[in-house]
């Protein structure tokens, strides 16, 4: 029996068919949009990045004791960008200079989920569905991994960089870092710390390569000698052996070098090295060069840390911008210089924005989580400490995305909400899928019901974002 026949048999038995997702009977090639991207990088600003402090600055009001928060729209002055008439918040000059290669959009409008729980909005952003769901909704990276497979079979199709799962809301974070009903094969390859990525593709526990190889050899010989191979269960044997062989090949594959940041020239490493996030961007670039399909790099969500600024927002935002400005800009330049940007869609996003006064959406009462004093007495009061869901910043680069363009309009007075061209998550997802050549109503059935890449198959790609 041919090996692939074994595999077929094994698949049927082990997945037990019934219950395994079935592709909707659709000829993807016949009606799919023409793909402009082969791969996607999501740069995730975890915790709620204020648009007015980053890519959509409004009137700057400097801090003074006694300042009324209602008067403050931005805590930084603005600086020009490569796009005429478009300014960014101070501290984002480098990204501003590469905006001739991409589009800025400040009208991301988050779901209306009531009393804010970051991880719930993050779940919604990443899966297109708000939890809880009776069917385990897949992460967008898993949809892509399932639909398109790996670009290079030696590199996992879906890689997630930067998020550890021993933080607050860890269970909620785990709930969307999953392939859900698509099956764990399409789930994320997790690299919590980019600087330690090499260890994920190295033998365990300091085992040297010689011992690793001889262990594998012993296993192969024992497997060959096991009499069970000659009785009834060849299929399991073949399939398990095959997966072990694959794993072993990974660990000794040339692609494994992409995980090792010590291979990067010192000058380039330094360009990116603003900490874990910066190195995550570098790793993302290396993995894309090696053939990754979907990579997400997060600043890492941890309650009240990084972009989750419940106090001292101004001071922290200065540091946060310093953390993202150089590596994000360098990533775009490097992708371009390597000829990859044309076929790579880069999306920078966050679950929602922040404001100094409004919690949630204007006009809808949502429980406040931060007490904002009527008059500021200390610098720590100065910043965007409430969660704002009626606007939010996105950056998009590459893969046919319009260059040097601003998309959508927000109000210049509080509430600085979306006025025109709102971007909802299902449409943003549809846009990403569109770039990859996947229609928004592509999907799979599970439990006899169709489940689509965008909610109910209704996402509409924002074609205006493309050239």
């Amino acid at each position: 029996m041919l090996r692939r026949d074994f595999l077929k048999t094994f698949g049927a038995t082990c997945a037990l068919g019934a219950g395994a997702p079935r592709a909707l009977a659709r000829d993807l090639t016949g009606r799919a949009p023409r793909a402009t991207a082969d791969r996607v990088i999501v740069l995730w600003m975890a915790g709620g990045m204020a648009h007015t402090e980053t890519f959509d600055p409004k009137q700057h009001t400097p801090f003074e004791v006694g300042l009324d928060p209602g008067r403050v729209l931005s805590t930084f002055p603005s600086v020009p960008t490569a796009i005429d008439g478009v300014r960014f918040s101070e501290g984002l000059e480098r990204i501003g200079r590469v905006m001739d290669r991409g589009t800025v959009c400040n009208t991301y409008t988050a779901g209306d989920l009531g009393f804010i729980l970051h991880s719930r909005h993050q779940y919604h952003w990443h899966t297109g569905y708000a939890p809880p769901q009776t069917v385990a909704a897949p992460h967008i990276g898993a949809w892509i991994a399932k639909t398109l497979g790996p670009l290079n079979p030696d590199v996992p199709a879906f890689i997630d960089i930067g998020q550890a799962f021993n933080v607050g809301e860890a269970e909620e974070l785990k709930a969307f870092h999953t392939a859900g009903f698509l099956g764990s094969e399409y789930g994320p390859f997790l690299i919590p710390d980019a600087s330690d990525a090499a260890s994920t593709v190295r033998p365990p526990g300091g085992m040297d390569l010689g011992r690793f190889q001889s262990r594998q050899q012993l296993f192969e010989r024992l497997a060959a000698a096991s009499p069970i191979g000659r009785t009834g269960s060849e299929f399991q044997r073949e399939s398990l052996l095959r997966s072990m062989e694959n794993a072993h090949r990974l660990l000794s594959s040339p692609a494994a070098r992409a995980f090792d940041l010590t291979q990067e020239p010192a000058g380039s490493y330094a360009q990116y090295n603003t900490g874990r996030f910066g190195l995550g961007c570098l790793l993302a670039r290396r993995l894309c060069e090696a053939g990754a399909r979907f990579v997400e790099v997060t600043t890492e969500y941890e309650p009240f840390k990084r972009f989750d600024t419940h106090e001292d927002g101004h001071t922290r935002m200065r540091e946060l911008k310093a953390m993202i400005d150089a590596p994000v800009a360098q990533l775009i330049l490097d992708l371009e210089q390597r000829g990859l940007l044309d076929r790579t869609l880069v999306v920078l996003a966050s679950e929602f924005s922040r404001d100094m006064v409004t919690e949630g959406k204007p006009g809808k009462l949502v429980q406040d989580q931060v007490d904002v004093p009527k008059q500021m007495t200390e610098l720590k009061h100065y910043g965007m400490h409430r969660h704002f869901t009626d606007a939010g910043s996105l950056l998009l680069f590459g893969a046919g995305i319009a260059r040097g363009v601003k998309y959508g309009t927000t109000a210049d007075e509080r509430p600085c909400k979306t006025l025109a061209e709102p971007v909802r998550i299902e449409d943003l997802h549809a846009t990403i899928f569109h770039a990859l050549g996947i229609p928004p109503d592509h999907g799979y059935t599970t439990e006899g019901r169709p489940f689509y890449v965008t909610k109910d198959g209704h996402g509409k790609p924002l074609l205006d974002l493309f050239v």
Partner: protein
């Protein structure tokens, strides 16, 4: 790093997807749902045609029946979806059906257009259990019915398992552990004719072993875990202590279910409480609807997930029925809501099958829930016993009598056997262990495993138990059986009189290895785990820190305690792990220098040997 080495996955992605069981009905309904439902389902019945049910489709619209069951060529549906005439083509706008989709519909109609279930006598399952007597005079209930089954189809009996394989299988199935070499030797030396039945009996009498194994299955279906979403805001409750106790005491299944559906003390409320996330939740996500959906799926094998939002297009369950059940669990009366839009119509109160009786909406909530619990577990409700019988059968035999396990409206491949087992289960007082005994003492259970389900002509044919893989918990515990070293830092303390022994895997929260091996996070009800071998899983096995540490601990412990020769150690580990002695060839690979006076293996060598042994398909599978 191979995710799918050698299996090039192209556009469309189906190339390497695991093959699925043939299911014409599901495929056809998916096509209809995608292309036709927007105009011909629910409120919409353009041209008078509603595809809400098989009857309404056959009744048709202004231009007649949608199809002629059994004759695609004469069916209007096929003519319209393949028409080039812009005036009559369907759908009138938008994308045409692909050739493949039309072919699916045609094949489905030619096969008689099987609909979901209840109204379709040909494939449906009646509410009441149907008693019948087997023709065969075999003394065991299962064997008698299956003798009839084989006779009808001209099938041969399978091959009987040898003693060692039987001991291994039944230990893993009843208590989830590998047999010790002593137990194995004792059993193989025993000459008593009834020794297999006696072994099943003695394993079932091990309250702790049984509870520690079966609790993982129950945790999956009741989506109970030590950690997970919802706990952060008090939006979830654990039932672990209650569940462990109920299993150890072998509480009758009907009583167990009543305590879950209508909890009288807090200990069992976690299931019906659901998972509540902070913030605004659509009605479909709220606790009463979760309760209705989960109760139906878990205990009755009925899927209401679609009908929680709109009249189901893939089954006959309606939005109103689903809301009527959800309403029983709700403090405040619910208003019908379709796809998150309030219809402004008060939901009624009721159970899925009105013929079993109704629920009085004037009763207080707990009394309504008690009433629902009574209706779920009523002896007249055949779905209750059938569903659990089918689940246990699938666990022990590798595939259910009905598949998928959560679509009990579908016909079993041998309905007489399913109903006989269900009636026997009721007659034995809903005794779960007695149900396991009934299946495990059959000759059929003791056949060698077949490699895969077979579908000659598209229909499943039963040829014996299907080979299975160890679950994540069985794998971890099997490692502990090899080395004597179990898990650390349990999240649950066993009650007082627990037997000494290693900490079993179920008591430890999900870790990367158990996740890779198919244990779920239990955010949703899981009635069957994934067991496919994937490369991400193999990576975890090959270089994951969790397994590495576990094997290191085991190698250290064995090195410290083992006083025999290397050769004796190899033999012992083969007996512990594989229930056999190594062949001379295997021995030569492992103990090449095992002669008198040879140095004992280093800890590294021993660890690597344990790893290689644990990676063997023979170790990881249930044969």
């Amino acid at each position: 790093m191979l995710l799918s080495a050698g299996v090039a996955r192209g556009q469309g992605a189906t190339a390497s997807a695991p093959p699925t069981e043939p299911d014409l009905r599901a495929d056809a309904h998916t096509v209809l749902a995608a292309h036709c439902a927007a105009c011909h389902a629910g409120e919409q019945r353009k041209g008078g045609l509603s595809l809400d049910s098989r009857a309404s489709a056959l009744r048709g619209g202004k231009s007649g029946a949608a199809f002629v069951a059994g004759d695609a060529a004469a069916s209007r549906l096929i003519a319209l979806v393949s028409s080039d005439d812009d005036l009559e083509r369907m759908p009138p706008k938008g994308r045409r059906l692909t050739v493949e989709e039309v072919a699916i519909l045609a094949a489905w109609i030619d096969a008689g257009a099987p609909w979901s279930s209840l109204e379709n006598g040909s494939s449906g399952t009646p509410l009441a259990l149907q008693p019948s007597a087997p023709e065969s005079d075999a003394s065991h209930l299962v064997d008698a019915f299956l003798a009839d089954y084989r006779l009808e189809r001209g099938l041969q009996a399978g091959t009987a398992l040898d003693d060692a394989s039987f001991v291994r299988r039944v230990h893993l199935d009843v208590i989830g552990l590998l047999p010790t070499p002593a137990a194995l030797r004792h059993f193989c030396a025993d000459k008593a004719p009834g020794k297999r039945g006696a072994l099943v009996e003695s394993l079932l009498a091990d309250d702790q072993g049984y509870a520690e194994h079966w609790i993982s299955f129950w945790n999956d279906v009741l989506r109970n875990d030590f950690q997970g979403t919802g706990y952060i805001d008090g939006g979830r409750a654990q039932i672990t202590g209650w569940l462990y106790d109920a299993l150890a005491r072998n509480v009758p299944y009907d009583q167990l279910v009543r305590e879950l559906i209508a909890p009288t003390d807090g200990a069992s409320e976690g299931f019906i409480k659901g998972i509540v996330w902070r913030g605004d939740n659509a009605l479909v996500q709220q606790a009463p609807m979760q309760a209705a959906v989960n109760v139906s799926q878990v205990f009755l094998g009925v899927n209401l997930k679609c009908a929680a939002c709109h009249d189901s297009f893939v089954s006959d369950w309606s939005l109103a029925q689903t809301f009527a059940l959800a309403n029983c669990f709700s403090e405040a009366p619910l208003s019908l809501s379709r796809c998150e839009t309030d219809l402004g119509v008060a939901a009624s109160y009721g159970f899925l099958w009105p013929e079993l009786g109704g629920v009085d909406g004037a009763l207080p909530r707990l009394e309504r829930m008690t009433r629902v619990a009574g209706l779920v577990t009523a002896p007249d409700n055949g779905y209750f016993a059938r569903t659990i019988v089918n689940r246990v059968w699938a666990l022990l035999m590798g595939r259910g009598l009905v598949e998928p396990l959560d679509e009990m409206e579908r016909a079993a491949w041998f309905p007489a056997l399913l109903d006989a087992l269900a009636l026997d289960f009721i007659a034995r007082g809903y005794d779960l262990r007695a149900l396991i005994r009934t299946i495990a003492t059959s000759d059929v259970y003791q056949w060698a495993a077949t490699t895969a389900p077979e579908f000659p002509g598209g229909e499943f044919v039963f040829r014996g138990p299907v080979a299975r893989r160890l679950t994540a918990e069985q794998f971890y515990d099997a490692l502990a059986c090899l080395t004597g070293v179990g898990r650390a830092n349990p999240a649950f303390e066993l009650p007082g009189a627990a037997a000494p022994g290693f900490v079993r895997a179920w008591r430890v929260p999900l870790d990367p290895l158990s996740k890779a091996l198919g244990r779920t996070a239990r955010e949703q009800v899981t009635t069957r785990r994934e067991s496919a071998a994937t490369t991400l899983q193999a990576l975890e096995l090959a270089n994951g820190a969790t397994l590495h540490a576990a094997l290191r601990g085991g190698a250290d412990a064995l090195t410290a305690s083992w006083t025999g020769t290397t050769e004796e150690l190899v033999v012992e580990l083969y007996l512990r792990g594989l229930q056999r002695v190594p062949t001379p060839e295997e021995l030569a690979l492992l103990a090449p220098r095992a002669g008198a006076g040879a140095a004992p293996p280093s800890v590294d060598m021993l660890q690597d040997f344990l790893w290689a042994l644990a990676m063997l398909p023979e170790f990881q599978s249930m044969r």
